[in-house]
């Protein structure tokens, strides 16, 4: 399997690499359209700002190739801001278009609870999930964000509640994403990454 982490300057790329390495899974970095075109599995990590991420992808001419890869059926896992980038727009950067794999908007969480939503929280599962196979129902995952997708249609398979109900896990065909950081979520996070790798392997 040829797993590539999309490299555009995101800070959490090394920790995703390490988490995969702990599973015995080798990965490489892809920062060019050619590199994306030759991969059979993609991970889009992300921390920081929606607009900055989209502009970074744009400067590297990666937006089209990413969308093409998804259309080809390449399994894609978005993490945190990588999930948000899959949507059309975000309150965080009103002028910047996302990858628009999903038509909805990413919202600023209302200030009902303390923000950023920072720390370990549980999930509410509403649909069968491949990423959450063999993960205990009451498992905690690590979140660090102030924006979130409140709706992803049928793709929203698990939600979390903090300030609002928001999409914590989304899955549609070959597209997967988590608002939490599996690479920072201890053994249950490793299980989620392992489930994604397993799905990608079967898909090949």
């Amino acid at each position: 399997m040829n797993i590539a982490l999309v490299e555009y300057g995101a800070g959490n790329l090394p920790s995703v690499e390490r988490a995969l390495a702990r599973l015995g899974v080798a990965s490489q970095r892809a920062s060019s359209p050619e590199a994306l075109a030759s991969c059979d599995t993609l991970i889009l990590p992300g921390v920081g700002h929606f607009g900055a991420l989209m502009r970074s992808l744009g400067e590297r001419s990666l937006v089209g190739p990413l969308r093409d890869a998804v259309a080809r059926g390449v399994p894609l896992l978005g993490i945190c801001l990588g999930l948000q980038a899959m949507f059309a727009t975000s309150d965080e950067a009103s002028g910047d278009a996302g990858l628009t794999l999903f038509p909805q908007n990413v919202s600023a969480l209302p200030p009902t609870d303390r923000l950023p939503h920072m720390g370990w929280n549980q999930l509410r599962r509403v649909r069968p999930s491949k990423l959450l196979e063999r993960v205990p129902q009451d498992a905690y995952f690590y979140f660090a964000h102030s924006y979130a997708a409140l709706d992803a249609g049928d793709a929203g398979v698990a939600f979390c509640d903090h300030s609002a109900s928001f999409v914590a896990v989304l899955e549609r065909g070959n597209v997967f994403a988590t608002q939490f950081h599996p690479e920072k979520s201890g053994p249950v996070g490793a299980q989620v990454l392992s489930n994604f790798v397993k799905f990608a392997g079967e898909k090949r």
């Binding site: 800070g11 939503h117 660090a144 509640d161």
Partner: protein, 254 residues
């Protein structure tokens, strides 16, 4: 279902080794940071903080190497700080493998630094660390490892720091630090009421009851401790079981 209260072991280092002392003085060696990190990762720490308390320019590369060694052991978030004066200092710490950075002295000297760091890395990556000491009827912020008074009210500074971009406050009670006499719940709750971001309480950790107090009365979102964990006076699993039994939401592990 609700956000768990975090238990955060802290590694105070001289750049390469974990050190500890009482009230910021009389430092002594307390072990290898990567070895302690590996232990806490398994035992159920929710996050780890590693600080360079000497923070001299000369051994900066040593501390960055320590961050890399610690990060390699972790499947939980890592916060690092000490001597962050510029955007580039912050970038170097995050590149070395930290998820968040703490800023203390430099932010008081130049509050704009918080804004610059938050714009570049996001507020969720910027932790404002405040060392506070009771002076008369309020708490005053101290800098340079607690050695220099600033005359600035700690609660006002926390509020201002959040306005400038800090996404979390790490409040250390200098009166309590190293004393094992319980957290400063009055200070922590004053900070917690003043800001809308998460607050980490530090200084004075002892028995499990002291953690219960700071979560209930101190309104802390997280509690940080060093020596009680390093010296195995308090086990992380046992502490979390106790808090869970008392009705505090915590992430149980193992």
């Amino acid at each position: 279902m609700s956000l768990a209260h975090r238990i955060i072991p802290c590694l105070d280092t001289d750049g390469s080794r974990v050190v500890k002392g009482v009230n910021f003085v009389n430092l002594r060696d307390a072990g290898d940071p990567a070895a302690l990190a590996a232990r806490y990762n398994v035992e159920g720490a929710d996050e780890l903080v590693v600080l360079d308390i000497a923070a001299s320019r000369d051994h900066r590369p040593t501390f960055l190497e320590t961050i890399r060694r610690v990060a390699a052991e972790l499947a939980i978030p890592l916060t690092a700080g000490g001597g962050v004066n510029t955007l580039e200092d912050g970038r170097a710490i995050l590149r070395a493998g930290a998820d968040k950075l703490t800023v203390n002295t430099a932010a008081i000297r130049n509050p704009e630094l918080l804004t610059v760091l938050a714009a570049e890395f996001g507020s969720q990556a910027v932790v404002l660390a405040i060392d506070a000491k009771r002076v008369g009827d309020h708490w005053e912020a101290f800098v340079r490892g607690g050695s220099v008074a600033t005359g600035i009210d700690a609660v006002d500074w926390a509020r201002q720091g959040v306005e400038r971009g800090a996404g979390e406050i790490l409040i250390t009670s200098m009166d309590k630090d190293g004393t094992r006499s319980g957290f400063d719940c009055a200070l922590t709750s004053a900070i917690s009421r003043a800001v809308t971001v998460p607050v980490i309480a530090s200084g004075g950790a002892d028995k499990p009851e002291t953690f219960l107090e700071v979560f209930r009365e101190g309104c802390a979102d997280a509690a940080l401790a060093a020596s009680i964990f390093h010296d195995s006076i308090q086990g992380l699993g046992e502490l979390k079981r106790f808090l869970g039994e008392q009705g505090i939401s915590v992430r149980q592990t193992g």
